[in-house]
């Protein structure tokens, strides 16, 4: 684009600003090039290319021995179980946090047109902050920490998903509760009902479908995350992929990647089905 606008510079009034922007971007990216040690030639370097060639060459045919398929099946089930158990724990974290963080159930807001008193806001802040910290650290960092704390295996993966997804679900649940019509809950609270009852009868009927569909969507994400987390030793399919890669077993890597695609496609379909059914 640059060369085209430069050759016909007289006819293109936007050429100069574009040229300046491009030069500026290049000047900023130049140190980045040094920092990232980008070197495409490395891929074509004799030794590297030969190793990689033999590795990728072994992709076909994918490994399909009985023993290996049994291992693959176990790893796949483990991945699914990590995602499901992690989501269950995340839900247990998210629901109480969302109830504490949401402004809809504020009694002090009733008389103030939906805005809580400053002290009520201050009490909700720590919960919001906790949710932010829980979800802002990527799940794979939590997994790495838990692998050190509770040892290699699925427990670390389950805990990592529980914490990160607990933070995400909690935030989104609280926001969904605030986005639905607040009048039923306010009416219940004003009539003296306890907060939990006001939530169950005033907010939940309107918010349940959206909350459920978001939870199912997150479960789908958790499956993908649990595969990736295996790379730091948190069990499941990812750990097996990592092991096979280190042994340069191309056929095994190929079958596992295929299994991974199938799993993601299946989870996608299942979650679409469930969400259509629920909403």
């Amino acid at each position: 684009m640059l060369s085209a606008s430069a050759t016909s510079g007289l006819r293109d009034p936007a050429a100069l600003p574009r040229l300046v922007l491009t030069v500026l971007a290049l000047a900023l990216l130049w140190p980045g090039l040094q920092l990232s040690e980008l070197n495409l030639a490395m891929l074509l370097d004799g030794d590297n290319a030969a190793t990689m060639g033999s590795f990728v060459g072994a992709f076909w045919p994918p490994e399909h021995g009985d023993e290996f398929l049994a291992l693959l099946g176990r790893a796949t089930l483990e991945t699914l179980a990590i995602a499901t158990a992690g989501m269950a724990l995340a839900w247990l974290i998210a629901v109480p946090c969302a109830l504490l963080a949401t402004r809809v159930l504020s009694v002090s807001a009733l008389a103030r047109g939906g805005r809580p008193a400053w002290w009520a806001g201050a009490l909700r802040w720590p919960v919001r902050l906790l949710l932010i910290v829980l979800r802002s650290i990527p799940e794979i960092v939590w997994a790495l920490l838990f692998v050190r704390a509770v040892g290699l295996g699925p427990t670390a993966g389950v805990l990592a998903i529980a914490i990160t997804y607990g933070g995400m679900l909690g935030k989104v649940y609280a926001e969904i509760c605030e986005s639905v019509d607040p009048r039923p809950a306010r009416a219940l609270l004003a009539a003296g009902s306890p907060r939990l009852a006001a939530f169950a009868y005033g907010v939940l009927p309107n918010a349940a479908a959206e909350m459920l569909s978001y939870t199912v969507y997150r479960w789908e994400c958790a499956i993908r995350a649990s595969v990736v987390m295996g790379f730091v030793g948190a069990g499941g399919l990812g750990q097996q992929i990592d092991l096979s890669m280190r042994m340069f077993a191309g056929g095994e890597v190929a079958s596992m990647l295929l299994t991974f695609f199938a799993l993601v496609l299946l989870a996608d379909q299942l979650s679409r089905l469930l969400r259509n059914r629920l909403t």
Partner: protein, 255 residues
């Protein structure tokens, strides 16, 4: 009827959760037993106080810059490769080529960044080079598809007018098609860059440079105090990117 079906669904979900917990044989003794809890406490206490010494902070600053550089160059390479692949994928060269390139884009996109990084570490050695390439390959798949959709949806008349007036194919693309899709392409690229900054900070776990590699190394050496600072730096990076993109979106995208 619908009611029974819903109850059955609920039952199935509960069964799946129960089966997961039993099947995994989760070992929470590390979290519940008194001894396990004390051990966890010891481990967690090692993270405090975080190491704020000047030398360590300088290292972290360099690793953060490395992470940013990896994400920026990875995204740039991906944008170039994505545009190159989007042209055939949008059906500009023929149906056969379109199907083939779409398959390639899907394959690039469906392998997660971390798996690409592990592969690239094997192919190109340890360090940020592998991370940049991994980001570029995955993001090229994502951007290629988005670009192709943008190209398909843009009106063809301006380019056709240039062609009819005797302009070349390149001139028709640059002056007829590109101005229409340019803002959308830039928006997609920036959105992916934002994602890639977050991703680049963890790619190092498989040896692909940046903050992640620093965290991995310091945890492996049981230097929890140093690791705590790296985690703080990651948290700051993620929050800063979130805040910046939220601000930029409000300022420029939604009016």
């Amino acid at each position: 009827m619908k009611r029974t079906l819903n109850y059955l669904l609920l039952l199935a979900i509960l069964l799946a959760v129960a089966a997961s917990f039993v099947g995994l044989g989760l070992d929470f003794s590390g979290l519940t037993g008194a001894k396990g809890l004390a051990q966890m406490g010891d481990y967690a206490a090692g993270f405090f106080p975080a190491d704020f010494s000047a030398a360590h902070l300088a290292n972290i600053g360099r690793a953060s810059l490395e992470t940013l550089a990896m994400s920026a160059l990875g995204t740039l390479l991906a944008a170039l490769l994505g545009l190159l692949l989007a042209l055939p994928a949008a059906g500009r060269v023929g149906e056969g080529a379109a199907a083939l390139v779409r398959l390639l884009l899907n394959a690039l996109r469906s392998i997660p960044e971390l798996v690409w990084a592990a592969l690239m570490v094997l192919a190109a050695g340890l360090g940020p080079n592998a991370g940049t390439l991994a980001l570029a390959l995955h993001t090229a798949g994502v951007l290629g598809r988005l670009f192709a959709e943008a190209l398909e949806n843009t009106p063809a008349e301006p380019a056709e007018a240039i062609r009819l007036a005797g302009g070349g194919r390149i001139a028709a693309f640059v002056y007829g098609t590109l101005p229409g899709v340019w803002p959308q392409l830039i928006a997609y690229i920036l959105y992916r860059w934002e994602n890639n900054i977050r991703m680049a900070s963890v790619l190092g776990f498989v040896g692909a440079g940046g903050l992640g590699q620093m965290l991995y190394v310091s945890l492996s050496l049981f230097q929890q105090a140093q690791a705590a600072t790296v985690i703080l730096a990651m948290l700051l990076l993620v929050l800063a990117v979130d805040a910046l993109s939220g601000w930029a979106r409000q300022r420029w995208v939604s009016h």
